[in-house]
Subunit: 233 residues, 2 copies
DNA sequence: CGGAACATTGACCCATGTCAAGTGTCGTGG
DNA sequence: CCACGACACTTGACATGGGTCAATGTTCCG
């Protein structure tokens, strides 16, 4: 099942309580960390930058991607509100993080996180859980990009966004795409043209409805699921 | 840079020392964990199985893969000696693990690991580091599968194995492929035929030499690197 | 209103998939 | 030691999904 972003700890209820050691919980700390605003197209960090902070998205969307010397681009994830980005143990970022729209993030110093984790095992396990969800999402995307057809990829993608909405208590049949066709294409390993053609094909088949190219209504979720799983026709 | 398997902690020197709390280090524990033997084609675990253990490979190779209902298969990683597999926080495995040849693994109960991590932050950070390397490798593979051509994918793959050899102090210009063309194909998102044709193409270009289909000699690493990075011709 | 950025659509092409023979290579049993 | 079968790999001929290039539409914002 394709997943948009890792959706870590933040989605659990986050009561303001204290851990055994009397320190603040992971959720508390993030919730009170300083905010930073990023404009559309602005980069939060680039590949090769020193990993200074870990961020949690409050609103907006951040596109995580890698580029090849000739400009080919692979989007690794599209991080949405609630998601943590920048986790990892290597001292430099291995990818770029760019806002697709006006975005607010909470910033926590990586060194502070590291210190807390080494002092409080439960805190460290939180990081471990968060990153292991990211890994699962990355592997799911790998399956999609490596094995599925264009139709199947786009169907998987739409369902992933729908599930994401479900988790946030928003409607599951109406999706607002927080990114361009180019971002979707580079996420799914397709060109803009193929993404566009695939949307129209899905529309002609009566599975979706398009509203101004960034609004999508899912008309037949079951059919989309069969498609995504390669069980169509 | 494409990486074969995550290559975690185990590659650091592993002197038998004790951590601050007087408990054994991660490396000590793994090194003394019970061994299990697996025959070629046998599964270590399957998708959906309860995550009971974390394993470290001593010898052999384990192919990690996901399958779709219709049988399409994506190999996520090919774990080699030294690698940890089965890390993650979800209670069930999200993929299958199958030996490609006779393999020895060390087994550590996941519950014990979890307990140790919650008690000793440094121990937890080790897990975090190990899994974050896996994530980086998975994302690198995603770039390869999503953006590179067949030639570029195979070149990246061979170089990944070569670097892997380098880290183990083995020769970097002679590679023994521990898996079939089918495994390679499903790893790179290609068919067996395309993998085979690509090998012969590389051979005709004088970049590699083949010995009985599982031995590969790299004749021009620089050219292979240019190829892998999309900088050829 | 005008222009830039984004999206759609069409025509064509090509890299890779599919299908179908072959050709090793290896292990087993006669 | 050889014959045989199983399996993996290679190679060829052909088909096709998705890429490329180019034109047109649409949306949005100054």
């Amino acid at each position: 099942m394709l997943t948009i972003s890792s959706s870590p700890a933040s989605h659990l209820p986050t009561p303001a309580r204290h851990s055994a050691q009397g320190t603040l919980t992971f959720e508390d700390r993030i919730a009170n960390a300083p905010v930073r605003m990023i404009e559309a197209k602005e980069h939060l960090f680039n590949e090769g930058d020193t990993r200074t902070h870990v961020y949690q998205i409050e609103s907006g969307a951040i596109c995580l991607y890698k580029v090849m010397p000739d400009g080919r681009r692979q989007v690794l994830n599209i991080a949405l509100p609630g998601d943590l980005i920048g986790l990892g143990s290597v001292s430099e970022h291995a990818f770029n993080a760019q806002a697709t729209k006006h975005t607010r993030v909470r910033c926590m110093a990586a060194s502070a996180l590291h210190k807390l984790a080494s002092e409080d095992g439960h805190f460290g396990l939180k990081l471990y859980e968060a990153i292991s969800l990211e890994l699962a999402a990355s592997r799911e995307l790998l399956l999609t990009v490596g094995q599925r057809s264009a139709m199947e990829r786009v169907a998987s993608f739409l369902l992933a966004l729908s599930r994401r909405n479900a988790r946030n208590g928003e409607r599951t049949d109406a999706i607002k795409l927080p990114m361009t066709r180019a971002d979707i294409g580079d996420f799914l390993g397709l060109t803009i043209e193929t993404v566009s053609r695939t949307f129209t094909k899905l529309k002609l088949q009566g599975l979706i409805e398009l509203d101004q190219s960034s609004g999508v209504r899912l008309l037949d979720v079951n059919a989309l699921e069969d498609l995504a799983d390669g069980e169509a026709q």
